[in-house]
Assembly symmetry: C2
Homo-oligomer: 468 residues x 2
């Protein structure tokens, strides 16, 4: 049955048995689903051949990148895995136009490295950037820590190329900032988690690399003044805030337990700790003065000093070296390790309007205490864009108990007009939430679109859309 | 037949005959198509009733806003016009969250006025903002002069509400910066020109109002150094360029003919004239110094002086008062009047990669001269985002002659990997271009989506998608 694929791709690129096994695991090596086989096409034309074959034979396909997904979207028992790993070419870098043309299998950190010599950045940063591939980031509309300034993955995409479920190639590889010529299929494909086609390439937006960063950790009594703090710092820096990340005191405590050699950031404990990073572009903000001080760092110091005197913040630690900057970030970047210190864990990746973050946490904690008084949590948030990772450590692993907890937190999300899925996506993990909580008219429209573009239902079946 | 609508909306809001006539004209009062009737629903529920009725009776619908569209998308003989004019409420302003909740019939300038007291802007600016409604801007993904900094309309939208062709309401009125929960129907509806549903409301993003502007007109020998100029000024100002607009010498000449009382900007003529506007946020860039100078203006002066000394630019006029700023902008904002000075005219609204603007104009001029040596042009461009309005005054109004000219310019657009429709959309005017030039796989996918969401084909039929 796979002979046709072997003759098309070469036998070395159709893996079965032991060779295919590594592709069946999720990132954390916790769940395994055996694929039918794994194919590794080397070009868009080869991807199209594979999809045509699958469409003709009715074989379910799973497009796969760096296998760092967190929602089960890249696994499926008995499906043909289409690994994009060999499509790892950077086709073009266009520094003046501030764009880069890549294939889907390029690892995100490789894009960072490729544009750095041009004084540019590709501003998509998240923990897994060293193994995640751009195709997966596109398919899931990945977020991360710099969405506040640069947007989600979809906001960084100018053009796209994809193989539709029929095996036809849709070529929209534009390097254009305006293009009103019909429905925006680019945005439809981005975030569709491989259920509408296989993204094979993209034209991405680049940004100038900040000439200097100012990084601080701020301690506060509560989250209440956080949004005002953000808006003030945005004003003072001309909108240059790159990251605005929240860590409660409990997170800091857990972090210090995880890394006993690390220093506590402040002499006192603070209920709310916020990591703030500013990226300055203009030379007058970046170039060190005669006394060695960097203007943007001085500006941040001034604002924080004012806010300290006004009693808005209780403490501030401002990085004066790259080593100090790394030390502050290392706290935030340990989030998945901190969360994984205890088991079992349930990660809730939710978003709320930026002015309702404190209210959300308050109400979620009450809801949790009602149902499981001894449960604990680990919280960390991309505060600037309202995205919170609310991890619960329940006292029972009973499935119906866990479901009750999930539903209770979802109730709070709904009350806050938030989203039950901020940046990780639906995959298979959130199918029941999607069925319960998504606007039913929207859900019906999505099913209609899926049916129209993938009538045989071969593209990553059973993901994103719950069964009716 | 309309009785059911009368009893639902009230007889005052179902217009026929003379009352309906004004709704049949386009913006320039050049073409008329008589609607069956005009309905003016006052709520989303009423819009849903109208659509259900139309779906049941198979009546074609045309959603209509401020009637400032430039592609014929808001007209249709015998169709029922659904005017959103009564849905003109601002439902909420949320200054801290930097968002506003509006109904589709709110005029864009009203949104500007409503947020101004909060020190905020809704950064969508184009000539027709005093009559265009936000629903139309959403349906067409309007662009304008500030896309370079703030993006197109779609980039300013957090949430959306729409009535689908079945009459069901899709409620996605989120105020969220991350929301990965299925296909992005918001982006599918935006720019669909009323063919997939009627947008009834939106949650829009606001931005801080710049505390000071620096505005200049720069004269250069050619467009060649323009992109380098933009990138340098972006760097010097920390990415604060709001507008970067191109006017060739011929445009300036035509403008001075249109407004004999206006002064020529420079003593000499320059082949390329670029309007540059910087919007500064940080108080240190905005607050005037003791000598009355505004720092951001001084920074721009410094950069332009350097570029002048280096021979990159030949001349620069920097506004030192609001009156001078208006004088510079008045030149650019007269674009449609300048274009309308001669008849017949053919406006080509195209986009190319930002580093191919000069090459495009060069080749387009040759292509035009080949086919119609005595034809003249009027050119004006949103240079910073690669959008050019290339207006041709042909020497013959013969339809096949005009078609040949259009096709010849399209050939150049294709060669440059550009788009034949940058910001005005397809409507009916560009249907044949769409059929000829759009990726056929993309076109087929669009038709499949249209068929899935609007099986009876009632939503703005005959627009955007060419017949097969």
């Amino acid at each position: 049955m796979l002979d046709q694929l072997r003759s098309c791709l070469g036998p070395a690129h159709v893996l079965t048995g032991k060779d295919a096994e590594p592709y069946g695991w999720d990132w954390g090596h916790e769940s395994f689903e055996a694929p039918l086989a794994v194919v590794r096409p080397g070009s868009t034309a080869e991807v199209a051949e594979v999809v045509k074959w699958a469409n003709a034979t009715g074989t379910p396909l799973i497009p796969l990148g760096g296998r760092t997904g967190m929602a089960g979207g890249g696994q499926g028992e008995g499906a043909l895995v289409v690994s994009l790993e060999r499509m790892n070419r950077i086709r073009d870098i266009r520094p003046d136009a501030r764009s880069i043309v890549v294939e889907a299998g390029v690892i995100i950190a490789k894009i960072h490295d490729a544009v750095e010599p041009h004084g540019l950045i590709f501003p998509l940063f998240f923990g897994a950037r060293g193994s995640a591939m751009i195709g997966g980031a596109l398919a899931t509309n990945a977020g991360g820590s710099n969405v506040l300034r640069y947007g989600n993955t979809r906001d960084l995409v100018l053009g796209i190329e994809a193989v539709l479920p029929t095996g036809e190639v849709v070529e929209l590889m534009h390097d254009l900032h305006k293009n009103n010529s019909g429905y925006d299929l680019r945005h439809l494909l981005i975030g569709s988690e491989g259920t509408l086609g296989i993204i094979t390439g993209a034209v991405l937006r680049l940004r100038p690399k900040p000439g200097a960063y100012a990084t601080a950790l701020v301690g506060m009594k509560s989250l209440a003044p956080a949004l005002d703090l953000l808006n003030r710092i945005q004003l003072a820096t001309g909108g240059a805030v790159e990251a605005f990340e929240y860590m409660p005191d409990t997170y800091i405590t857990d972090f210090l337990r995880l890394r006993p050699e690390a220093r506590a950031p402040f002499a006192e404990n603070h209920k709310a700790n916020i990591l703030i990073e500013i990226g300055a572009l203009a030379p007058r903000d970046c170039v060190p003065l005669a006394d060695g001080s960097v203007p943007i760092v001085s500006y941040l110091e001034e604002v924080l000093a004012e806010l300290h005197d006004a009693g808005v913040i209780q403490d501030a630690l401002i990085a004066t070296s790259e080593a100090q900057r790394s030390e502050i970030w290392s706290m935030r970047e340990a989030a998945s390790e901190v969360a994984a210190m205890k088991k079992p864990l349930m990660i809730m990746d939710v978003a709320v309007p930026v002015d309702r973050m404190e209210a959300f946490i308050f109400k979620a904690n009450i809801a949790l205490a009602d149902l499981d008084p001894s449960a604990t949590t680990s919280i960390v948030a991309h505060l600037g864009d309202g995205n919170i990772h609310y991890t619960i450590f329940p006292t029972s692993t009973d499935l119906s108990h866990k479901d009750r907890l999930v539903e209770a937190i979802e109730d709070v999300v709904v009350e806050m007009k938030g989203s039950f899925s901020a940046e990780h996506g639906i995959g298979t993990h959130k199918l029941s939430t999607m069925a319960r909580r998504k606007d039913p008219v929207a859900l019906a429209a999505m099913r209609a679109i899926k049916g129209a573009l993938d009538p045989r239902g071969i593209m990553n079946p059973g993901k994103l859309l719950p069964g009716e």
